[in-house]
Symmetry: C2
Subunit: 209 residues, 2 copies
Amino acid sequence: MFKIPDWAFEFHGHLCPFMPIGYRMGSLALQKLGVERCKDHEMHVFSEMGVGHPQTCMQDGIMAVTGATFGKNMFERLYYGKIAATFWYPGINGAIRIYLRNEFQDKMAPHEFFTYRKKSIEPSQIPDNVSQDIINMVLTATDEELFTTTLMPDYTYKPVKGSFNKAACEICGEYVFERYLRVKDGKRICIPCAGHEPDEKVFYHPEIH
Amino acid sequence: MFKIPDWAFEFHGHLCPFMPIGYRMGSLALQKLGVERCKDHEMHVFSEMGVGHPQTCMQDGIMAVTGATFGKNMFERLYYGKIAATFWYPGINGAIRIYLRNEFQDKMAPHEFFTYRKKSIEPSQIPDNVSQDIINMVLTATDEELFTTTLMPDYTYKPVKGSFNKAACEICGEYVFERYLRVKDGKRICIPCAGHEPDEKVFYHPEIH
């Protein structure tokens, strides 16, 4: 049976099947790319998940096993509403996309775990034996039962270039990294002091093709 | 000295001062709000960090201590380029904003750790004693030396309502959560099959005021 370290469950906060699915997905990505868990800023993950739907817990599992964490800016959401992610590693041509097969999604769907979830019962309130049973379903499946893996030879991504430069906002006095400084009445200020929001939003979308 | 569990460093992947700063920031937020670490979908965190700047590692520390993880959709980025975050908890009026004081940022800046970082040397390649020294600076500081905390009594946030509904894309056959299904030539399809990107992007911005 596939093993997941206890700390990954501790980080995630509750027992559920999707953190383990993400852990296995990330583990398969490392294996397919032939790389080790990332310590710094190596692998970038592009998750196809969005908001307003369940099963996003998968993303915590991917971060835990790959070391490509959101905090290190290695993890982006693409908002496609799919249980899939693409894994890109610097120096390796192309990328690997992994999707949780419809057949496995259908196999899990009737499980008692989801009967609770659809009644809005949170995972920590579901009996442990129910959660452990569906987790075991994930841990005993083969990679082939779980995932469709696609090699994307032409996939390119250009990571953002970083800068340490910063300055204090001339209104509130707080430090701001240069990219996010704005100018108003000749002063260098932060976005909240500029009052541009909520009319304008600043987003980041990874340069992938 | 403030204690951080080993697994938080293991999750993060390397020794650096910003994961611990985030851990302390999140710990202070839990204390100020009078709540426990989150198991499920409770606290929401709005980080003021963005892309293209360093020190974002703070966000992994916040996730580790609060349990408000990106994978559970409890963690959003606001792209202001500041070392700050706001913590919102359902059922508690308002929110708490915590900012890493300029004075502490200035105190850390001359440390040898950043001499390495500004030469693009990754944290895992910096001698452990150098990293441990700056981490100790973080762990031995008081909350008051580290942070400015602001109570925001009028802060409101409306979490996204979720739905389990999904359907297979009528082109590629993959399952898609309803919010992200699109229609083209009368077919219900996914965003990549619709070919709307890269012209159109789908984002999420939290409804905060």
